[in-house]
């Protein structure tokens, strides 16, 4: 016998999260602009009005999604990278592998996918993401590279530019897959990418003795 399904069901508890889950699904399936608030409500099994009870606008949905997912990961990564002493190679490798392990969980990966797709249309979200994630992570990474140089582990370089070399390949990898559907043979293979990249990052692509 099926559960009774009255017009009014009171379940204050997890409702906002269920709405966000539905929204995330739909935003990824159809894009933010093409998703109606009514669709989100229906998928979450609630009424349109209830969505507006929890979130003041459609845009607030995307913000809440990002906020919910992004903060814990960023904090974890920052903790990770400041934790390791000595050769920054260990710290950076560990953090990148941690990031990859998180991104490999499709559930977790969905949010960066959403950000890639929609952030350019929502300066508000871009600013939020910058404030909550980038402005925290970039200084930490830059400082780690700087210290690695000062402690003699790393060759002279400009840490501010180098961090782009550290992270850029990962971003491009995801971007090519997400936006253009371009993946290496055998699937995304984030772990293989990272190993290949780390090896080049620290040891260079040239054979020994080639250094100019």
């Amino acid at each position: 016998m099926p559960e009774k399904s009255p017009k009014f069901r009171r379940r204050a508890e997890a409702r906002p999260d269920e709405v966000l889950d539905a929204a995330l699904e739909l935003f990824l399936e159809r894009g933010f602009a093409a998703t109606k608030v009514d669709d989100v409500a229906k998928r979450a099994g609630v009424s349109k009005g209830l969505v507006y009870l929890y979130f003041p606008s459609k845009e607030a949905l995307i913000e809440a999604i990002v906020l919910r997912a992004v903060t814990p990961i960023a904090e974890r990564a920052i903790g990770e990278i400041t934790h390791f002493q000595g050769n920054p190679r260990i710290a950076i490798s560990t953090v990148m592998r941690f990031l990859v392990s998180r991104l490999s969980d499709p559930q977790v990966m969905n949010v960066p996918r959403l950000i890639f797709r929609e952030v350019a249309q929502f300066p508000h979200i871009a600013q939020m993401y910058r404030r909550d994630v980038l402005d925290k992570m970039i200084p930490v990474l830059r400082a780690r590279l700087q210290r690695g140089m000062e402690e003699g582990y790393l060759r002279p370089h400009d840490p501010d530019l180098t961090l782009r070399t550290v992270v850029g390949p990962l971003i491009l990898h995801v971007l090519l897959s997400e936006i253009f559907g371009i993946e290496p043979e055998g699937g995304l293979a984030l772990d293989r990418l990272v190993e290949n990249h780390l090896s080049i990052l620290f040891d260079g692509l040239s054979v020994r003795g080639e250094r100019s």
Copy 2:
């Protein structure tokens, strides 16, 4: 009835291009969605109806913009990279410097900027861009890396993944600036970025003898 003056005829022939110029400007200023066809027409100094005489829809404008700008650069880069024999370090460095010189021209830079911003919303454009640019450039770059490895210039690596290490940092650099307004102190400095990156790319970040 007298012939129209050549001056007038030339204007008429250049009309579609003027419309595209206006559209590109506005799409960058306000974004595609926030730009009205009427705005494009006004900026181009024509009527709304005329825009529809040249282009069947608003989306066709963005496609035409991309098409017009992207093809010549891609072809040039491909020619460049296959031209250099011997150590691929020369080829890759030359091509990246060429790309940077092109991107430093704000006029040229505008189109990639537009693509970054809008491509995620237009799968159609993404496919077009993939077909006309990526599917041509990626195999060439991959082949060059492969040959460099086979000829003993480069250490063993997966060329398909390595090309992400080669290009990713440049992409991230532009992206951080374009989407999040994050630039190194002293401005974009694409050339400094490339030099810093190429040095790491070929020689690694670790000091000599650190190789693991």
Copy 3:
């Protein structure tokens, strides 16, 4: 289980009135349409549901407000005007001064202010007001004017039209202030208005001997 204290019980009994007080305040501050039932409930310190327990609809609130306030004043004025014998100048002057004294109490004044603002939108209220106030006061005033004429105190006139001359200036005075924010220098000054008006009403504006 102990009896609830009388204090609590009295509160419970006064609840509907407290709701009306809150509603009146808010309707005047923001207007009827712009006031949400939830706002009324919050200001009254009760829940939205309770408001609907006492009043069947939002519109019922405004009706109850008017009903509660209007009846006693109207009855008092009617009593007043029929009380005075002889020269109706005394009766009319006394009643107008009484009205002014009541209207000068901001607490009392609020309800006519609300009516001025909202009555046009609510034919229902207009009818109620007509039935409970106007249809009682107008005939009394008209009869008084009629008798004053018959008894030789007043010149010949049409009492039905004259009553508009008697009351109109007071209405316009409040209206200008309430709707358009137009007041004489020195504030509303209802008493000065009435004295100026009564003097003209009975003796005319023209200097003696000017009668045409």
Copy 4:
């Protein structure tokens, strides 16, 4: 054979006025809030979009209606009242009779009726009306009363308050009819009202020798 009725008819000329006519009709029939823009469009025989081509918002419709109707009458009245020299009785009587003659045209009367009904809900309109009409007419009338006093035609009084005695009865007369449906036996009879009122206004209600 009926006129061809193509989907697109080009008739830029009188369109805005036709839209305003339709809007006025509907606002009076149903009230502003209860009238949908779509209704206005349909009654005017155009599309909803066209309404927004001429008027930026629904509220702009009511503003345009008031502006269109009110300005010429106000200007005419002001001219009238400043025109007459000598005894202000002539000036005031003439103007009031002029106003009555205008208001007796149902076409013209509609706009004041609309204002009475809706002005309280739209502070914007109230301000506009005050600026364009009241702030022009009141000073003129006050000055005329002042001069009449100085020149010895009128007894001492406060012109700022007296003008409320002059105009208030007319306003109340229309208001009683419009809002409450209260009219003297025999219909509105604006002209009878004015004659009754003017007689009282200048000569007073009391019989001669009664002056207190």
